[in-house]
């Protein structure tokens, strides 16, 4: 019976292996969340304000990424690009595929955020003599960015969880890829799944907690709860 011979000491004996892998997970997730934020912000604004060329590019980019499986995207970058001479190292493929994926979804979050800023606010800014760019930075971004933050939480959490797909696919030794190898060489399925399940639960919950904290710090006075 699995619970009867659950070996807690096994988890402890391998804890440094799993913690090293966890650090790698957090590294690529951090780069990817920052990258998706940047892409979402810039191209989301391009979409919302119909900036020529950038807007069309963003539209196509979002459609391609949303309509294909993430795993296929990773294989394309990892195994497909070398066929045309672009061979990126595993670590680069790991964070790059996550940035490309997360950025696409974040574009929609920021587009909705910017489009939700009432037009009269921008009108007021322009009437006061702000340039269009100044209006963006002083009016649209503070308001639209705050509106975009709650839906972005889902995107960033998904980016963090998707590190578990990138690891095995691009042979990058993050937590899930390392755990998978540990299970296969020792057969201790239950102990390893339990350990990484608990670790993912803690880090994802911490991430969403941090973002919610940021959200409450940024809340405009009239939105105070």
């Amino acid at each position: 019976m699995p619970l009867a011979d659950f070996d807690w000491s096994f988890i402890w004996a391998n804890h440094s292996l799993l913690l090293d892998a966890l650090v790698r997970t957090l590294k690529i997730a951090a780069i990817a969340i920052a990258g998706s934020f940047a892409i979402g912000l810039v191209l989301g604004a391009a979409r919302a304000y119909r900036i020529p060329l950038a807007s069309q590019f963003a539209a196509v980019y979002v459609e391609v990424i949303r309509n294909t499986p993430f795993l296929v995207q990773i294989f394309f970058i990892y195994f497909g690009l070398p066929q045309v001479g672009i061979r990126l190292p595993g670590f680069t493929v790991a964070w790059l595929s996550l940035v490309v994926w997360g950025g696409a979804f974040n574009i929609e979050n920021f587009r909705a955020g910017f489009e939700a800023v009432p037009y009269r606010y921008r009108e007021a800014g322009l009437a006061l003599g702000f340039s269009r760019i100044s209006t963006f930075f002083h009016v649209s971004l503070p308001i639209g960015g705050r509106i975009a933050l709650p839906p972005s939480i889902n995107t960033y959490i998904s980016v963090l969880k998707n590190t578990a797909i990138v690891g095995p696919a691009a042979a990058y030794p993050e937590l899930t890829h390392t755990a998978s190898g540990l299970i296969e060489s020792t057969g201790r399925t239950f102990e390893v799944f339990f350990a990484i399940g608990a670790i993912y639960l803690v880090i994802v919950w911490t991430l969403s907690g941090l973002i919610r904290l940021l959200e409450s710090r940024l809340a405009l006075p009239e939105e105070a709860r």
Partner: protein, 306 residues
């Protein structure tokens, strides 16, 4: 707010524990019937466990990406050495070769598929290791592979020179553990299947691929851009994986394997599946009337450094 948070954590942990418990609990029979005694005058063959007999077909986990042992042929059917042994079990149990459903498994998923009751047997190029023996039961060996190294055609790399080089293989495999133990200064690059590792080698992401001769010989023959080094290492007997404690099923499988061995059927199965030019390289890897394969006695023997 804090109470909600604590409650959420509590519910989530309970749910995760329950899910993990149900995933790990075996649903198959745990072998109540013992093997028939040898004391009977006419030695009866061990009988098939009732769960499988009642179902009327086998559910067997095989590889779908590892020619010539488990792969999908051009018509879309499962084929290979392992698959043909599975069909022999179907004939032995039910009289027909098609009373078997195949489930594709990978190196990493085959043991969980067995322990969660999704498959009856693992017939998926599984090398015997003492660590795995703690979790699944093994039949007697049905094939023995040797470890080989595949390099680009222009490379002069040999086994003794892999320090500091990138070596690709499958995650959690015996090569992965052997590299960790005997070549600590080599850099492993681990994939889910040897085919992906081969592609990585050809893309220049690794200096060599380490894997069973069975897979690499086929790759070297069909691909002029890679070649095998003369190095041979590790003796890797493969066994059929059976749910731990299912003595009845293990006795059934071992008895049928003995029948196939005595009829020299393994050699015929090999011939059906292997490229004729490679047949000579493989023909001593299978059980035969005068050749009994054995497992290494201890864990140290398993991973002996060269």
């Amino acid at each position: 707010m804090r109470r909600i948070a604590v409650a959420t954590i509590g519910v989530a942990l309970v749910a995760a524990a329950l899910a993990a418990w149900s995933v790990a609990a075996p649903t198959g029979s745990t072998g109540s019937a013992a093997a028939t005694h040898a004391l009977k005058k006419k030695k009866k063959l061990p009988s098939l466990p009732t769960q499988i007999k009642r179902r009327g077909r086998w559910i067997i986990g095989v590889k779908c990406d590892t020619p010539p042992f488990g792969y999908i042929d051009l018509k879309g059917h499962n084929a290979g050495y392992d698959v043909e042994i599975a069909r022999w079990f179907s004939r032995f149990a039910f009289g027909r070769a098609n009373r078997v459903s195949f489930t594709c498994v990978t190196t990493a998923s085959r043991i969980p598929a067995l322990t969660t009751g999704k498959i009856d047997l693992i017939l998926a190029t599984m090398t015997f290791t003492h660590a795995r023996k703690q979790v699944v039961d093994f039949s007697t060996p049905y094939y023995v592979a040797t470890g080989r190294m595949l390099v680009p055609k222009s490379s002069s790399l040999r086994l003794r020179g892999i320090g500091g080089k990138t070596i690709t293989t499958t995650g959690g495999s015996i090569y992965d553990r052997w590299l960790n133990k005997c070549f600590k200064d080599a850099h492993p690059l681990l994939f889910q299947s040897p085919s992906l590792a081969l592609q990585a080698l050809k893309d220049g992401r690794a200096d060599a691929e380490m894997f069973d001769d069975s897979f690499l010989l086929g790759a070297a023959t069909s691909d002029p851009s890679v070649k095998l080094t003369p190095d041979k290492f590790l003796k890797l007997p493969w066994g059929i994986g059976i749910l731990k404690g299912n003595v009845q099923l293990r006795n059934w499988v071992n008895a049928r394997l003995r029948i196939l061995k005595n009829r020299n059927q393994f050699l015929k199965i090999l011939k059906n599946n292997v490229n004729p030019t490679l047949f000579d390289a493989f023909k001593n890897n299978v059980p035969a009337p005068k050749r009994t394969l054995k497992y290494p006695a201890t864990e140290e023997a398993e991973l002996a450094c060269q």
